[in-house]
Symmetry: C2
């Protein structure tokens, strides 16, 4: 098996990009990543995106991007798996590099959400759920996660301020993250007093709506010398799926897709859980962050939010999470999010994280969810040996 | 390198499926293919689809299908590359099997087009072209191909009845194809007198609008014995892309994506062109069929339509094309088409093609285009050794 490395990253700030099209954002991130890799031409292009057709009347993003950045005669496709599109695109590229099928790839995640009215964003996101059942009854993603949060709090005895601790960590870390959408620290009180979205979830429990694109260049050991940037090794990775809708599952508080993807990724990496130095978590809602930490075994059942409150997951804690602000504060341009997480893990493991640097970070995990943990794509990264 | 085989196929008839949802169609095709493979559980699921969000408010098709057919804890994603989504999904699965990353996969192409009004179908298909440039001026796919057909006929001296010969072959072959949308033979006169769509292209130059799903089970040599169906070997395959819009290209009559994908796929297969016994062609418009035959070198420049008229490409000719009716008569449910082509190649090479059997067929090629040959995915198949 070949070794696989992230050789460079590039991304846009997340937020309102009224002046840029979907393609403009993808081109900007790609050109930054390709330049940082010394201008090497990747063999294949993978674009992660969820709803370009809904949001921009555009499909065929693979060829559109390849052509726009001047790559000719390359294979180029879009990969979609709802909000886990970005990491799923990365996973396929990584699997091909690891297996020796290709020696380099450009992986780009992109989403343009701010051109849509809020109701349209809700509808676009709801496409991650079944059109025939869940959408049909009018359940939005916030509604589903609200029900889940209510159940979690009741069953596990989780308090409001414990749940708030996850968005508080995110906002604290984002203050010094240049690409983050919201660079403002908050207190648990701000979360508790923010507008109700889907009881008990409030505005500050929920990831915001933003535009953004992130890109990474992947290389095998055979082409690593050619890339001019610092390297971080991809040690393992896996995608897993489970029963499609949360209400179909025996235990709704078990994030089985994340559990299985994490297990498999760590097994491939040959890494025990205790070696992980930081986690980029898919906390689209505070409750999703808590349940994800539990699914990966970093917190015991029912302890995800409580551990967050204890300080364990702060940037200077035992196991920092969301080192640049996570989905809540860095932002969540859905199809791009997984690639932002990978770019952030790369920065941590190449000492390019600036004020957000996790001290002595050797290994990091990224976790990217589609649906209510219907799909989960987990990757494990380490310093290049 | 492992060997890769198609172990079974399954598909729906193409046409109006008012009673079935997008998911119903994908499930039907998948269950047929899995049953034909002896009930084996594939390791990974790939769904090719272009516009489920536009047509059915549905994304996240990978997990949706995996969950619906009872596959748990498997990786599952959607792959999109406009009308070449089906073969692109297959190509990624095949590349992973070939490289030894996985030993089995289910590849499903699905599209539901008939729920949309005709104008909406035009808009959905136009998403294969640039929203900012081509869609913006109101050019539909038929319009772009009409301009191309006019240029081709003028420059190469191609006559109306020569161009008509491609749809005539399609309709002739579809008469005995049970899954075909239109099972009715036509004459060149029927094409020439049909309604004008985009001068000079008439109704019978253009692939119809239909619903359908096709599935194939892919296995490596390590799991081939486990699959109960007959085997056809995947000898080679490639995706290529070129300048995004046809008007950006130096030579608009050169289908460079198909040319390069074909060259690469044949090189990987180690097969000279002369050994090919039949071709499943992406003739979304008659002119596209002609230019594709020229790009792959089966006809000389300007001779694609003329050779079709000569009889060379008939089912009993020197090199049969579209042995079950091609895009014009078998039908073109866009994201599914590439998988239908592969299923048809499988049937030819396992002697399951019935009245459409190409005598002594040893090798076949499938070619699936996205855009006006912006993306092309070509695969080469042979009898299992």
């Amino acid at each position: 098996m070949a070794k696989a490395y992230v050789a460079s990253v590039g991304f846009t700030k997340i937020g309102d990009h009224w002046e840029s099209s979907l393609l403009d954002l993808a081109v900007e991130a790609s050109m930054k990543a390709l330049k940082a890799a010394g201008g090497m031409a990747p063999e294949q292009v993978f674009v992660g995106n969820m709803f370009s057709s809904y949001g921009a009347n555009q499909e065929h993003l693979g060829a559109l991007l390849a052509s726009a950045i001047g790559l000719k005669n390359v294979p180029a496709v879009k990969v979609e798996a709802a909000c886990s599109s970005g990491a799923s695109a990365f996973n396929i590229a990584y699997s091909l590099v690891k297996a020796g099928a290709i020696d380099s790839a450009l992986v780009v995640g992109v989403e343009k959400m701010r051109d849509l009215e809020p109701e349209a964003v809700s509808q676009a996101l709801a496409m991650a759920e079944s059109a025939e059942y869940t959408q049909f009854v009018g359940a939005t993603f916030a509604a589903l996660n609200g029900l889940l949060a209510r159940y979690y709090m009741e069953k596990m005895g989780v308090e409001r301020d414990e749940l708030s601790s996850i968005p508080v960590i995110d906002h604290t870390n984002a203050v010094t993250a240049e690409h983050a959408q919201f660079r403002k620290a908050i207190t648990p009180d701000v979360v508790a007093r923010s507008a109700m979205v889907a009881d008990p979830l409030r505005l500050f429990d929920c990831a915001p709506v933003g535009d953004g694109a992130a890109a990474v260049v992947l290389v095998s050991d055979r082409r690593a010398a050619e890339a001019k940037g610092r390297l971080a090794e991809v040690l393992g990775g896996a995608i897993s799926t489970t029963e499609f809708s949360v209400y179909e599952r025996k235990d709704m508080l078990r994030f089985e897709a994340t559990e299985k993807a994490f297990e498999e990724a760590m097994k491939r990496a040959g890494l025990p859980r205790g070696k992980v130095d930081f986690v980029e978590l898919h906390d689209a809602f505070s409750v999703v962050g808590a349940l994800s930490l539990e699914a990966m075994g970093f917190s015991k059942k029912g302890m995800g939010a409580k551990d967050a409150k204890s300080g364990r997951y702060r940037l200077n804690g035992e196991l920092p999470i969301n080192t640049f602000g996570g989905l809540k504060a860095r932002g969540h341009p859905v199809g791009a999010t997984g690639v932002y997480q990978i770019a952030e893990a790369y920065m941590q493991l190449t000492d390019m994280a600036g004020k957000n640097q996790v001290k002595d970070a050797e290994y990091g995990v990224t976790q990217n969810i589609g649906g209510v943990d219907t799909t989960s794509a987990v990757h494990v990264f380490g310093r290049a040996g």
